[in-house]
Symmetry: C2
């Protein structure tokens, strides 16, 4: 490819509204161009990377026995009404009416349509398993689209859906997809981690996220550096920090603690470690709009509530929220800031985090403004908690849930998700097949997504420096750039550069030659911003000695290499990268 | 590819609502599956053909210097308001509101967005020309979607847009696209014709449609079998059928012609050829909702009005329609059926078709029920027409517009359109670049579309028989199917079949082996329906003699070929087809 025949458009500055490094670099490198909030044009440079990602996904999906099809962007509401998601989905679901006033949606995902296909097409167990995927435009009307392609409204997703006879088969398919995902993200050249994830409202017991490791990630990944254990913090089990309760050593004391509404203020005031204080969080549960209970959740002062875990508490499944100030005053006789489990005005359900349940001589609010109880002990000063549960986010250094050593935590960007669905959708749409015994059974399903466009942003978050993007070879818009210096003045340079370009192209290397006639500084800055992994620079002086300059995007400086061997070197390096 | 690992789903009968052969065959062959009116799932078999079409389009577009990008499906209304098409487009434009009540559309085409990109990105003449394309999902909310993928609502289109400094450059780009289209449709293996087409409201003077020849086509293509001339009937010039008027031979006579409201009835009644009668068509023109004139258009009784040509008459450009009965009675004093240019109640504008203007002794309505004038002659019995114009559709056998011989007519399905746009959109969106003289100029644009999904339907309309589809090799979901007979009983068959499959696959042939274990009759019927071009059948008896059966989808019967040479034969045939 000649740069003069391609469209290259770099910018010195990113627009002011770009809010994350990958977005800034994609805009500056001319990979994307904003059309509307969360809606981007993929410019020629960006599209090349997308196509490479798609090709690798296709190869691995096909190799894993999945079959590609294509479901429409615009889908009829009827199927979404049948599954119940027409009502359950919020305003992220983009709804449209056609000219005949019929309801449609712009698909954010395709469980309904694929299940509709399956219930028509798959009649016998002999046709199973099937695993169908498509790579298609999705739309989610995010309230606040941001982070460029990482949380856009229109995006490209690969979504696969599997249909099996039974749970055993479904889990086998799940494992095959898990393995395919490991290969996909490995081939893309990304540092990533597969973590156990919450199954949310879908149920089932198996779900993994594939997370690209990056400081800008919104997810916290908990892992055991010594074992295979890895989970999203939403799911990672927090063990109690002491095995059992120590005997009480202090007396219960009502203590004046003015202006200490927050645990950190309280610990400072009492000159106690934060880990001796208790946070009392008050929640209300509801079912069908009616209040079903007021709950006091007790966490150690330095710990944070995990809302996913809270949602799984008995009674919380139908809906929960922070209690209102009125509900709090009604039950505790006190405003928030000094609440606690002792002497409430009305009875409340007390749930202690596992760590809290094993504490002694702790400090809780006294339900009187500016007062706390110190020296509090279970059984003696207040009843044992109604329930002991895992309520908190695990933190780095906590004992590992798998029993060996302690956990570490890093940030990640979710780029893939595999999900065992069970019969959620097949039951909702009554999608059955005739099993060997002649009886209709609901399909056991799984779904498997990869955020194609998001992957570009995630890869850049992980791979960039002050000069710009540093693409993994497999995702780069071009693998190699050939930069002739002064080609307008030197036929030797021109000729050698084009010969090298042609030789690399003939070997299947995705190479571009910068024949725009720009100055070396401009050329280098452009390609460093764009992030092409390999650069070969040819100048008159070097060529006289038979030498060219070779530089990987991560190298500090260029290396002199003989012109005679440069093609073989480049081909070898690129192929090694792609085989990795 | 093993059939057992692919998804094959054929049906004996097409659904009752399928209204055209290509739609029936695509549904029966399991290439598409209806999701809603005009919205189809592309099943694995269909998607393979789409991807092949897309790949050829990409190769030729890139070779012609175009660059691929990707514009969004959902586009903000603002740009469409800026171009004026937000108001001009009817209900085919699918409009949506997002959660913030902002207007968007589901794109039917992308002139606005690409022009918006160009006005931001292309600042200097040095960046020109540019030709950008994408292959993207489109939506047009057709009132009555029909003919399967030929007139669907959601479809895939390749649309390219070019930006040039001046008309000369734009026409050069146009010619390059024209040439690329010839290559694309040629490589796809289709019989097609590039015809001059009407430029409609867009203006400019150059537009060609690429039409796949098929009886089911909605377009009529006029061509000169002896020359290069070819045009859509909408545009094809109809010359006068006699060079000059003969001298009058009859007297003007008011003749009783009861019940002859139609020219055919009149000709029968008077025992005259239809070509002696005149059709009087009454139109009203309007501008800004106000009547601007009543027009009598005179055509020969056996000719048909061409509405596109009528729309270009002076005064018709702002809008025209058939006159109402009230308007007709008001001007002619008579109901439709016996109208004519002689003795109207109020003056009307008389426009004669070129052929009519050269007629003598013709018959027109007398503006009295059941009466006509016979022996009518221009100048003597009525004034010369106010205007002589080309009003009619040319018919087969008419003199060719390019002056040599006569034209023939065939039906076609429009699958591509190249269009010189001029500055229509660049002016509407004020998209300019700085020219060499330092002054801003509007881009000279062109647009170039190919209906990717429609191409599948068109190809099938052209290539099918009683058994099913007959794919051109370049568009076939698979190029070759290997059918082992009794592979479950014979290891020799099994082994030879898989070896052949592997050998073909290794040579880059897109081959599938039917390892489903179906009976030969079922296998053959499936692959004939699906339309795979080449089939190799291996059976125990033939193999004992070292022979297999080879059959092209168009062959009446299979040929015996030595197993030893079959791979080379197949590879040679497929490669020859693809090189054609």
């Amino acid at each position: 490819m000649k740069a003069s025949q391609f469209f290259i458009s770099t910018q010195k500055e990113a627009p002011a509204d770009a809010d994350i490094i990958s977005q800034k670099l994609m805009l500056r490198a001319g990979m994307i161009k904003k059309l509307a909030a969360g809606i981007y044009n993929y410019m020629p440079m960006g599209l090349r990377s997308i196509r490479k990602v798609e090709a690798i996904i296709r190869e691995e999906m096909n190799a894993a026995g999945a079959t590609e099809l294509l479901m429409p962007v615009i889908q009829p509401a009827e199927l979404w009404q049948e599954s119940g998601r027409w009502d359950k989905y919020g305003p992220e679901l983009m709804r449209i009416k056609d000219r005949h006033d019929r309801d449609f949606i712009v698909q954010p995902t395709s469980e309904e349509v694929i299940t509709d296909i399956a219930r028509q097409e798959l009649r016998s167990y002999r046709q199973l398993p099937q695993n169908w995927y498509h790579i298609q435009t999705k739309f989610r009307d995010e309230r606040r689209p941001r982070f460029g392609v990482m949380r856009g409204r229109e995006f490209t997703m690969k979504d696969a859906y599997s249909f099996d006879r039974n749970t055993e088969g479904a889990l086998k398919t799940y494992d095959a997809m898990f393995a395919a995902y490991l290969r996909i993200f490995g081939r893309l050249g990304l540092q990533f981690r597969a973590v156990a994830a919450d199954t949310g409202s879908i149920g089932g017991d198996r779900s993994h996220e594939f997370q690209v490791i990056a400081d800008a990630g919104e997810d916290l990944l908990v892992y055991n550096p010594e074992t295979d254990y890895a989970a999203n913090i939403e799911l990672a089990e927090a063990l109690p920090l002491s095995a059992e309760r120590a005997a009480p050593a202090e007396e219960l004391t009502l203590t004046l603690t003015p202006g200490t509404g927050r645990c950190s203020e309280l610990a400072d005031y009492l000159k106690l470690p934060l880990s001796r204080t208790i946070k009392s969080l008050i929640f209300a549960t509801e079912a069908e709009g009616k209040l079903t209970g007021i709950w006091l959740l007790m966490l150690r002062g330095d710990h944070e509530l995990n809302e996913i875990k809270a949602g799984k508490l008995p009674g919380f499944g139908d809906g929960f929220r922070m209690a209102t100030e009125a509900e709090i005053i009604d039950h505790f006789g006190c405003k928030p800031g000094f609440l606690g489990p002792i002497k409430t005005v009305k009875p409340v359900h007390v749930i202690a985090d596992r760590t809290v349940a094993n504490m002694s001589d702790f400090v809780v609010g006294a339900n009187q403004e500016d007062y706390h109880y110190t020296g509090v002990n279970w059984g003696r000063d207040l009843p044992e908690p109604e329930l002991v549960a895992d309520l908190r986010n695990i933190v780095a250094g906590d004992p590992a849930p798998d029993g060996k050593g302690v956990v570490a935590i890093q940030r990640g960007i979710e780029v893939g998700h595999v999900f065992y669905l069970g019969t959620k959708y097949s039951k909702a749409l009554d999608a059955t097949f005739l099993d060997e015994d002649g009886k209709p059974k609901h399909f056991e399903m799984g779904c498997y997504g990869i955020g194609v466009t998001r992957l570009l942003g995630a890869a850049i978050e992980q791979n960039h420096d002050a000069k710009g993007i540093v693409w993994p070879t497999a995702m780069a818009p071009f693998e190699v750039v050939v930069c002739p210096i002064g080609a307008d003045r030197s036929e030797a340079v021109r000729e050698a550069a084009f010969r090298l370009h042609d030789e690399l192209a003939a070997a299947g290397i995705d190479v571009i030659i910068d024949d725009r006639g720009e100055r070396p500084g401009v050329m280098f800055a452009d390609w460093e911003l764009i992030g092409v992994p390999y650069r070969v620079t040819l100048g008159d002086r070097g060529l006289k000695e038979g030498m060219v300059e070779f530089q990987h995007r991560r190298d500090e400086a260029a290396t002199k290499v003989a012109l005679a061997g440069i093609a073989a070197t480049v081909i070898g390096r690129v192929r090694a990268d792609l085989a990795a």
